[in-house]
């Protein structure tokens, strides 16, 4: 359902529309012809002209005609037909025997320009034996020989060359040439893949059912199918039939199909009329496909021809039929000329062309409506849009600035005229005897090639995009929004289909329904464009707007955005140093956002219980260039060095999780113990049980492991006759705690030591021991130990043990 948004459009865009300088419309409901231009301005006669416009550069046109004397008149324009220059300025002719200008020509030039910029010029050579095709890749400045086709002697006539884009595989452009050869229509075609890259022509195809058929045309469908038209019989003054044949596979192996009678006509192959009473006319059937991609009738085939209301009453009209099945069936005829039925006036030599950019079709012809004697002709044109079920022609417009009356000398206006239509401008070309331009060197005695630039056409919408869309910076994961203004500077409603984006980060989000959007002329509609960056940095995309603008079925608009994101940085020391339960430590960890977007910090987690977040504000948002402090407190429950991980989760797309290591260690302990000392072995012979005292400096490395530097002294009472023995021992030991997390922690210890006996000497030895301690508050523990000592270097080995009870004091 069409979504009428005119009012909404107005309200939402009034301010914009007021400020927007809307260009004047190029679309008019009326054709406008420019001043006639004498393109040849040379002595002698020029007639039967062909004209082509370069799709790759619509300012370039090429024009060629039969001419008096050798060769073909040839001219080119680089300014849309306003002025003309000549490939050979010396004589304004080519194919006249001069070197490098193609084989000498007889006549019947036909030309076509493809979208690569290749210009094809086809004609009959001077022997009437060969169909010659020249190729120009420089806009008609120079030519090279492309192909020469000859199969019989003095037997060819009425060639037509056409080139068009196709969707056929391997043939982005196809070029076809048809002609009459020995009273039979024949054709050859080739694929074109680039400028100057024309493939070989396929073998000659004899078109079925065309014996005695000629004076026709050829057209290429968007699919690559080819259709030719011709008239049979070629003699007499009618009636006759226009036949068409279709080669559905184009350049494929298949040939043309059977001839289909497209229409009958009372205009015979040599039909004399007052305006061309020596030369006569034929029905001059012409074909053109609608290959405008945006056309509602893409692929429609038009056939223009001349009809005579009553055979030999000279009331000739220009008629149009169309086919939507490549020529299989045809519509009823539509009269293109809009003069009244009476008095009888002749319209003849029609030519049709379709503007590939707009889909409009133009028909121009010679028209005697203003001639009381029905002998003087003026060139008229009309245009129809490709809309509607069938074409509706605009009012006819007189294009020629003055009338021409045939000189009756056999030259006359010829068998055909020329027309091309592209980019909204039609360019008819005809043999002119009026000298309305005043620069025909022969005055009104000889024909010159006259042309015109015809603009205007059916009322049409015209899309205008005032500016590309810049959405600025948008955070990754966020959505930026902007406005795409689509304006209609034409004279008919502009309908816009859903707008697509080449980059999924950009999308038109509003309106989300109600398409097609209809925009009245001289208004703009603001489409909302959303930007959801999935990456950082500059992002670009192309929005494609499909509309009913005949000149721009698809309009591309650039959209720009800059994807940004938050950037998390975690700073601050996480080394807590020496920490104990009675002397805890706190550190601040700064969570900073150095990016351009807000940073959402979801959580901070620590994988052990000996570090805690004192103040946990998370989740929290951190603006760009700001920091959030997390205070971490170390509370080691076990002795030793502690490593834990703190993990901070955020929406930073690059580093959604940041981990830092928390480091702390517990302090050393001082142990003081006292107890009993017991001699063993030989020592027992001289000493008895005594006292023991130890001082330990205990440095925890891990919860289970600690270095223990012990200084102890024992006094053993001497047995009878022996002195008391005092033993000093300094023993670095390792302590291994079996169950560091238990309330009663059992440990083993051992090490080597230096012993001094008094009386006695310094000796070396070692010790093994076990013990347990029981924490009593965060700073103290009660400890009981038993140690057994061996003094190896004494003789005999001296042994003693210690059983002590004491306290551990944390620093």
């Amino acid at each position: 359902m069409r979504h009428e948004l005119r009012l909404a459009s107005f309200l939402r865009t009034a301010a914009f529309a007021a400020a927007c300088l809307l260009a004047g419309s190029a679309a008019h409901a009326q054709l406008v012809g420019g001043p006639d231009i004498d393109a040849s301005q040379k002595s002698g006669d020029d007639n039967e002209c062909a004209i082509s416009k370069n799709p790759a550069n619509p300012n370039q046109l090429f024009l060629s005609c039969n001419t008096t004397g050798p060769g073909l008149f040839a001219a080119r324009s680089l300014d849309g037909g306003a002025t003309w220059t000549y490939p050979d300025p010396a004589d304004k002719t080519i194919a006249d025997g001069d070197a490098g200008q193609g084989p000498a020509a007889c006549c019947d030039p036909t030309s076509s320009w493809d979208s690569f910029g290749n210009l094809y010029l086809t004609y009959i050579d001077n022997s009437l034996t060969t169909i010659v095709t020249l190729l120009s890749t420089d806009g008609g400045a120079t030519f090279s020989n492309l192909a020469s086709f000859s199969s019989c002697v003095q037997c060819v006539d009425q060639p037509t060359v056409v080139a068009a884009n196709t969707s056929a595989a391997g043939a982005p452009v196809a070029v076809w040439i048809v002609w009459n050869q020995n009273n039979q229509m024949v054709a050859r075609g080739a694929a074109v893949t680039g400028l100057g890259t024309v493939g070989g022509f396929n073998p000659l195809q004899t078109i079925p059912g065309t014996a005695g058929c000629s004076f026709g045309d050829v057209a290429i469908a968007p699919s690559g199918a080819v259709v030719q038209a011709c008239q049979n019989p070629t003699g007499g003054q009618g009636p006759a039939t226009v036949f068409v044949n279709t080669d559905t596979d184009g350049l494929g192996a298949g040939n043309f199909g059977a001839a289909v009678a497209a229409t009958t006509t009372n205009v015979g192959g040599f039909d004399f009329l007052p305006a061309q009473n020596a030369r006569s006319v034929d029905a001059e059937a012409g074909l053109a496909f609608d290959d405008h991609a945006g056309s509602p009738h893409l692929g429609r085939l038009y056939l223009v021809y001349t009809e005579e209301a009553v055979n030999e009453n000279n009331d000739m009209d220009v008629m149009l039929r169309f086919s939507d099945d490549n020529g299989g069936t045809w519509s009823a005829p539509i009269r293109a000329n809009d003069d009244s039925a009476a008095p009888i006036r002749s319209q003849f030599l029609p030519k049709i062309a379709v503007d590939d950019i707009t889909g409009n079709l133009s028909v121009c012809w010679h028209d005697c409506r203003s001639s009381a004697s029905n002998t003087a002709m003026e060139v008229f044109c009309t245009v129809a849009a490709p809309t509607g079920a069938s074409p509706a022609f605009l009012a006819n417009e007189r294009i020629g600035d003055a009338s021409s009356t045939s000189n009756g000398a056999g030259v006359e206006f010829g068998d055909y005229s020329g027309l091309d239509y592209l980019n909204g401008a039609a360019h008819p070309v005809w043999a002119d005897l009026s000298n309305s331009t005043g620069n025909n060197p022969d005055g009104t005695a000889r024909f010159d090639a006259a042309t015109d630039r015809v603009t205007g056409g059916p009322p049409a919408p015209q899309i205008q995009i005032p500016a590309s869309v810049h959405l600025g910076e948008t955070c990754h994961g966020g959505t930026g929004r902007g406005t795409l203004n689509v304006c209609n500077t034409g004279h008919a409603d502009l309908t816009v289909d859903p707008i697509t984006s080449s980059n999924p980060q950009f999308a038109v989000t509003s309106p989300s329904s109600g398409y097609p959007v209809v925009i009245s002329h001289d208004f703009c509609f603001p489409f909302e464009v959303a930007f959801q960056p999935s990456a950082t940095g500059a992002q670009t995309g192309t929005l494609t707007i499909a509309s009913n603008d005949p000149a721009h079925a698809s309009t591309a608009v650039q959209v720009f955005g800059d994807g940004t994101e938050p950037d998390i940085r975690v700073t601050g020391s996480t080394d807590f140093g020496v920490v104990s339960a009675w002397r805890p430590a706190e550190k601040s960890v700064a969570v900073c956002n150095t990016g351009a977007c807000n940073l959402a910090v979801a959580s901070a987690t620590i994988d052990c219980g000996e570090f805690v977040l004192v103040n946990n504000p998370l989740p929290a948002a951190v603006s760009h260039d700001f920091c959030l402090d997390l205070v971490v407190k170390a509370l080691p429950a076990l002795p030793g060095r502690r490593h834990c991980e703190i993990t901070i989760a955020s929406d930073d797309p690059d580093t959604p999780s940041v981990t830092r290591t928390l480091i702390a260690r517990t302090p050393a302990f001082l142990g003081l113990r006292a107890g009993l000392a017991e001699p063993h072995g030989a020592l027992r012979n001289v000493a008895r049980q005594g006292s023991a005292f130890s001082l330990d400096l205990l440095y925890p490395v891990r919860p289970r492991l600690a270095w223990d530097l012990r200084l102890g002294t024992s006094r053993l009472d001497g047995r009878a006759g022996h002195l008391d023995t005092r033993i000093w021992a300094l023993t670095p030991e390792i302590r291994y705690t079996l169950n560091p997390a238990s309330p009663v922690r059992v440990f083993l210890n051992g090490g080597a030591g230096a012993y001094h006996f008094d009386p006695g000497n310094f000796e070396g030895g070692g010790t093994l021991g076990l013990g347990f301690n029981v924490p009593a508050g965060p700073r103290f523990a009660i400890e009981a130990t038993y140690d057994y000592h061996w003094v190896f270097t004494a003789s005999p080995t001296l042994r003693f043990s210690q059983a002590q009870l004491g306290v551990l004091i944390s620093f």
């Binding site: 002595s43 002698g44 006669d45 020029d46 007639n47 039967e48 005609c65 039969n66 001419t67 008096t68 004397g69 050798p70 060769g71 004589d91 006249d96 025997g97 000498a104 007889c106 006549c107 019947d108 001077n126 009437l128 002697v153 003095q154 037997c155 006539d157 009425q158 009459n180 020995n182 009273n183 039979q184 014996a211 005695g212 058929c213 000629s214 004076f215 049979n232 019989p233 070629t234 003699g235 007499g236 009636p239 192959g269 040599f270 004399f272 009473n277 020596a278 030369r279 006569s280 034929d282 000398a409 056999g410 030259v411 006359e412 010829g414 068998d415 022969d442 000889r446 024909f447």
Partner: protein, 170 residues
């Protein structure tokens, strides 16, 4: 004997002169007539034959379609109207085209309703062959784009054929 310029040479001279100046003189029409195929059913004179086209005529003829008839005047030539050379010329043309399939390139219809045309049979053009045989003259101020008629006439003149048998050498 010293060659002399003769009044009757003027048309040929003008044609040749025009050709030499590249056609700028504008003496030649722009020849580009449409082609028609048919069969010659009668030879009225060396210049005029009767051609039937359609169901009974021409290569690729389309049986069942309308049949027409034209008096075809060979363009650009003037053949003797009476005398032995006139008979010879008519016989020459008859030998070439009578009862044969031919094709023409139509130039214009004249006041007599004749279709003034170039006429071809096989690989020969009748008008050129008439001139080459010395059985016709080229019409004044008329030639094809590349001087084909002048060339043929000159060949006959040089060979002293037909009309040129008694002519003084150029």
């Amino acid at each position: 004997m010293k060659k002399r310029f003769a009044i009757r040479d003027v048309p040929a001279f003008l044609g040749l002169l025009t050709l030499l100046v590249g056609g700028a003189g504008g003496l030649f029409p722009a020849f580009a007539g449409d082609a028609l195929y048919g069969r010659v059913t009668a030879v009225k004179s060396a210049e005029v034959v009767v051609l039937e086209y359609g169901a009974t005529a021409g290569p690729g003829r389309s049986a069942g379609r309308s049949t027409g008839r034209y008096d075809v005047r060979i363009v650009g030539v003037d053949a003797p109207e009476a005398g032995p050379l006139a008979r010879a010329a008519k016989q020459f043309v008859s030998n070439l085209v009578l009862g044969k399939d031919v094709r023409l390139r139509f130039e214009q219809r004249n006041q007599r309703g004749e279709m003034v045309s170039r006429l071809f049979t096989g690989d020969k053009e009748v008008g050129v062959e008439l001139l080459r045989a010395g059985l016709a003259r080229r019409q004044p101020n008329y030639d094809y784009k590349y001087g084909e008629l002048s060339a043929a006439e000159s060949e006959a003149r040089e060979a002293k054929r037909g009309l040129w048998a008694q002519a003084p050498p150029k």
